[in-house]
Subunit: 427 residues, 2 copies
């Protein structure tokens, strides 16, 4: 008999059906057992005569197949339940390291990650990744609809994009390769290769030793790059539309998940654009906070977001015009000291970095030299710039950070199915 999903049962009153899923919880009375069965679509209560088990043991989180009749039951949450006629244990679960049938998954993050298959079954944990998938899908749909082509570029590269620090080395036959820190060079080259607008969703790697709640050593980057722009403001304009479209899609596709997690999606207004210099001024004036360096530290990001929220109601703020010293060599300079660049802060955390790039060969070579880099180390990348490269720019959104900030997770690891950090390579 064909399997029916739990969410379809409401249309099967009076019918005999077969459902399959996991045993979320059991309550055994003397003559009857109540069993909550969970599948990917929902939870249903089954009532069964313990005899049906024929002496087989049954544990929480075992996989079962139940045949039964869907019958009205006003006392159950859905208004119906499944009167079991037959039950088959497809896979018996051992003793669980922790329970997942409470409203909250109250276990330390490390334990939850050690037993990821179990913790992901919790409704709240599961919902995080359904929202994440909806975000990705909406990112793609928006860009597909705006002339972008999805591309796949190598993660095994001959050199770093930003000068060679924080790279993981790979033994590549007789040579050494590195894991790409970003698809930056490739997405620029593909703009120049005539695609004009490309995006890539893929893993990037940072061999950073520090362990914080905001960093992963492998994460998913939502990258885009577009040609024929006038300035970095074109990229910010596009991102405003993109984010609005992503949030609208999540609102529409994940009502259950948003409710379970108690998430209120942000509005995407005309996001304020504040130069870094202004931002540092605000922090000093409003909070007495001095920065040694002309950059925002995590506390600075939080305070600036708080200020902008209070002043404008926006949960987002662009910080623009970063100094030349703070941005990689491919960033378009703006005057002598600044660059045509931006970061996007969302609820106190940087989620996007972007800007306009240099598109003329001589300017790029000169900028490399000014940074103390040797153009000879970038021959293949630089070569593209002698073949006719349009003005262009782009951005990269950290998927796990975006997810974590939307949902209000305290640690970016909670927004990664199988996070990688200095101390975690498994599962």
């Amino acid at each position: 008999m064909k399997r029916v999903l739990v969410e379809e049962l409401q249309n099967c009153l009076g019918q005999t059906v077969t459902v399959e899923g996991w045993v979320l919880r059991m309550r055994r009375l003397s003559k009857v057992t109540f069993l909550l069965l969970r599948d990917r679509s929902g939870v249903v209560q089954a009532v069964l005569d313990p005899q049906l088990l024929k002496g087989q043991s049954l544990t929480a989180e075992s996989v079962v197949k139940i045949r039964g009749v869907v019958q009205a039951e006003p006392r159950s949450k859905q208004g119906y339940e499944l009167a079991a006629q037959e039950i088959e244990v497809m896979a018996l679960a051992d003793q669980l390291p922790f329970n997942i049938n409470g409203e909250e998954l109250n276990v330390p993050l490390d334990l939850a990650l050690d037993h990821r298959v179990l913790s992901l079954r919790h409704t709240k944990t599961n919902a995080v990744f359904r929202i994440q998938a909806a975000l990705v899908q909406a990112f793609q749909e928006f860009l597909n609809g705006h002339g972008f082509v999805q591309v796949f570029t190598p993660k095994l590269v001959a050199s770093g994009t930003e000068g060679g620090t924080e790279l993981f080395a790979v033994k590549y036959f007789e040579e050494t390769a590195y894991l790409a820190q970003s698809p930056q060079f490739y997405k620029q080259m593909l703009v120049g290769a005539g695609f004009e607008r490309v995006y890539e969703i893929g893993q990037v790697y940072r061999a950073e030793k520090h362990a914080t709640t905001r960093h992963l050593n492998e994460y998913v980057s939502l990258d885009l790059e577009m040609g024929f722009i006038e300035s970095e403001h074109d990229i910010m304009d596009l991102q405003n539309q993109l984010l609005a479209s992503m949030f609208a899609a999540v609102e529409m596709n994940c009502p259950k998940e948003l409710k379970v997690l108690g998430v209120q999606l942000p509005e995407v207004p005309q996001i304020p654009r504040v130069s870094l210099e202004e931002a540092l001024g605000i922090l000093q004036r409003e909070y007495g906070k001095m920065h040694q360096d002309s950059d925002l530290d995590p506390e600075g990001e939080r305070l600036l977001s708080q200020y902008v929220l209070e002043q404008t109601g926006s949960e987002f703020v662009y910080v623009t015009d970063y100094p030349w010293t703070k941005r990689p060599m491919y960033t378009m300079p703006k005057g002598e000291e600044l660059t045509a660049s931006f970061d996007l802060m969302f609820r106190g955390l940087e989620i996007t970095t972007g800007g306009q790039r240099i598109h003329r060969h001589e300017a790029l070579t000169a900028n490399m030299r000014r940074k103390g880099l040797d153009p000879e180390d970038f021959t293949s990348y630089l070569g593209s710039f002698t073949l006719g490269m349009p003005p262009h720019g782009g951005l990269a959104i950290g998927l796990e950070r975006l997810t974590a900030q939307i949902i209000g997770l305290g640690n970016v690891r909670e927004a990664s199915l199988f996070p990688r950090d200095r101390h975690r390579l498994e599962p």
Copy 2:
């Protein structure tokens, strides 16, 4: 003035517009220059008075911005042309290593790959990757519509999925990690984590030393896995629908590209399913071809495809029931000697591998031992199987191979933007 795409010009007759793009070709007469401008949407002819260039040089593949009036011109291909009033050279191209304005890109593959930004601008090369992107988009849309969740799993892993051969090693802080050969373990675990149906599109890595026209050391795998199946035939059934849907989408979204490449998309009929034993019998009987080993070699794949095409009209054929010795430890056994597995051949090349997996812990442990593997080496993966794992199976399609076979490319490298092989790490 806002940029107009070339494809929009047909609606702009008589209007003054600005177009931006690359100089595909120039023909200089004494008083007038004909210039073909290419952008991502098409090609248009511009006519200009050489004086407009004010002595600036202009070369093929330079990036230009032209303002002019769209006027009817019966002698041009489109029926209109652009009468230029102003031209700006946005980026001047150097001497090109080869021309890309012929109907064919007649350059050796290695040279084309060395100058990838240029070769990708050729209409035919460009079309390959637009079709590839359409295939991926359709793969996603079909699966999104069938209850699958897109996931992202780590490519940095602690051990191999298939026993440790052909892995790239990565120095991971104080440890050694490896690049994942496939997301196999993770997609199975995510089925068990309650998602039931997951897919992933991502890079996989094979440290194979041999260089053939069919292998890449880094390629894109279209992976899916689903729970609550009855047998491997459910996976094949799903793939039939999936492929039909992907080809229909390409037909609809890429008419221009298919035409440029002269591609006839295959029909996806009820794809014949032939056991490996039958396949070897056919090869021996029809072609006098003996196999030492019970497996198909590349010639065997081609001949079998040829036979099936002649007999049934299908360009696809499933080869099923591979021997236990030929399949990885997670494959569901079928009797003593065989497995619930399949490969899909398309136009003579294997593009998909799939099957049902073992879902019970004791059976999996026993199968590992029978393969001479130590279950201790797979603790984290095996642990998932004690927590209630449903029957499940899945498949993986090689994206570059699928693309190459559809288009009739002779080398899988032609279906990779920046291929990686033993001798190529750049660009």
